[in-house]
Symmetry: C2
Subunit: 352 residues, 2 copies
Amino acid sequence: MASASRGEGWTYARAGVDVGERARALARLVEAIRYRPPPTHGRAVGPSGHFAGLLRIGRETIAMTTDTVGTKVRLAETLGRWEEVGEDIVGVNVNDLAAVGARTAGLVDVILCGAPDAATFAAIGRGLDRGLRAARCHLLGGETAIVPDVVAGIDLGGTAIGFFPKGRDPVTGARIRPGDRILGIPSTGVHANGFTLVRRLLAEAHVDLARPRPGAEIPVGIELLRPTRIYSETADAIAGRPDVHGLAHLSGGGARNLIRLRPGVGFVLDRWPDPPPLFGWLQGLGGISPEEMFGTFNMGVGFAVVVAREHLAESRRRLARAGAPDVVEIGHVERGSGVTIPSWNVRFTGYE
Amino acid sequence: MASASRGEGWTYARAGVDVGERARALARLVEAIRYRPPPTHGRAVGPSGHFAGLLRIGRETIAMTTDTVGTKVRLAETLGRWEEVGEDIVGVNVNDLAAVGARTAGLVDVILCGAPDAATFAAIGRGLDRGLRAARCHLLGGETAIVPDVVAGIDLGGTAIGFFPKGRDPVTGARIRPGDRILGIPSTGVHANGFTLVRRLLAEAHVDLARPRPGAEIPVGIELLRPTRIYSETADAIAGRPDVHGLAHLSGGGARNLIRLRPGVGFVLDRWPDPPPLFGWLQGLGGISPEEMFGTFNMGVGFAVVVAREHLAESRRRLARAGAPDVVEIGHVERGSGVTIPSWNVRFTGYE
């Protein structure tokens, strides 16, 4: 894959993931989809390209989203640990449901592998169980495809559906306005994004996964494998409130995800907390620019909540009570555009 | 993957897909899932392990199922043709919704690839569009994961959701009783199952994909690539009727899928039509037993409808009007168990 490297440090593109090329290919796919079904088969509602698709079915609105654990599975394979990525199948999906204000309902998992191994599957099952418990989600089925010529090792993914309890509308970001405050809920680590880059950095620097990085106490392999924090119940506790104007899952694309919420406003992240040392260590391994770091990783904040200024304190209390006592204020909304992180001199004008 | 070969001919297991090993690994995964969500997050309804999972959400019942195109993508890659497998993303999923009597509503697609190529994605998009049109299905989103270390080439999959129009209940097979008649709707070819075996047979026999097999007029590569027939609208036209006792998508596992409908009855397929010559040719390439053929491929019939005997003629007429003028009677239900195909001396006692 041809891709220009920005500056001299490592980039996600140089590691093999060119999001620009992906966007161009995807545009070709999407423009080929011309068909619009009749309303007898459900009615599409809400903006397309948001964190989850929305479909009005009979008397309910259903949210649906799909994602995979990506190349984090290769780290799991190296370490022979599958519970964490099993849990990630749930996290990477239900957090996108949470970002449209939907309540989690059901998940199907997809495991692609060359040859199924019982112990590996048991560990994936234990991880799935933990994730389902955290998200209060039904497992509605799954697919195990034995495709020895297609995948090396194992690929893990899934699809989740959610709904809107009576009286709650989807949260799209349309109500966001200048003056709003932005709250952030910490991540547990790199979650399941940017692992093609992470693995290149580890390999280039000959990092021993069994030893802690400087200043840490657990092996860096374990630290990197930590499952995605699940924000479902926390978001569910506030999603229906009129003072909650926007929700964002800061996964692939990091802080840039805020741009998806609303055009025509600027997200100024002038209170971004110091990223956990793991991110600084990764940055140092590859001489990576702050822009690349904030545009690839969550940098310590995995979920954002945009609230009306006058409800800031109350929203913080509600989130703290609903599983996020560590919520912090990370910025505010201004007139303008894009995402700005002044202390790191980072500015994003587009999502991809 | 170690697996015993049955007889001397080629088998699905010898080609690299051991469904017994898959079943054992999957059992370990499923037994690890202990969590049951509270009813505030939807209520699971209907049998688990059926063609689609069923969840009561608010005032609607949602059906959800996930599947991939499997190793058929490798044939697409060899031929440089992606429209057919793009359409298969829809077919392999919506036919499972049809098999629980659900009406198709929405689909998300998942494309895993090493590097995205715009022309390939455009062709996949055209195929998706055709499939969505045939199934009257919304595309609600998708995931394009660039995972160069995980997949060779491209993997295609998706997840579909459906619902039950007012007054219609899910069709589970529970109403099936001895004396019922079984109708079959023809397939368009091998659909998207058994391709690990197909590709081994083609390679061993040095088959030229660009030439027709004996007796055929189109190149065998094109013949094998034909997209999965989509049964959604046909099934939707009859699913709500009380005389329709069971529906089955004969995909992976072929005629064995009927066993999933109801234990304690025997499915006797004593009117199975002559399989299209493509299947006989494949069988001859590898010296494959009839049991292996009927347990791996659809053998010419892709969807089955079990109806009350007294409504046989009327059901045929309805199906014929709803897109299946080629529907045929393929057998009946007796006291007993399993699936029997007398003219081929084939008997299945379990689904896997």
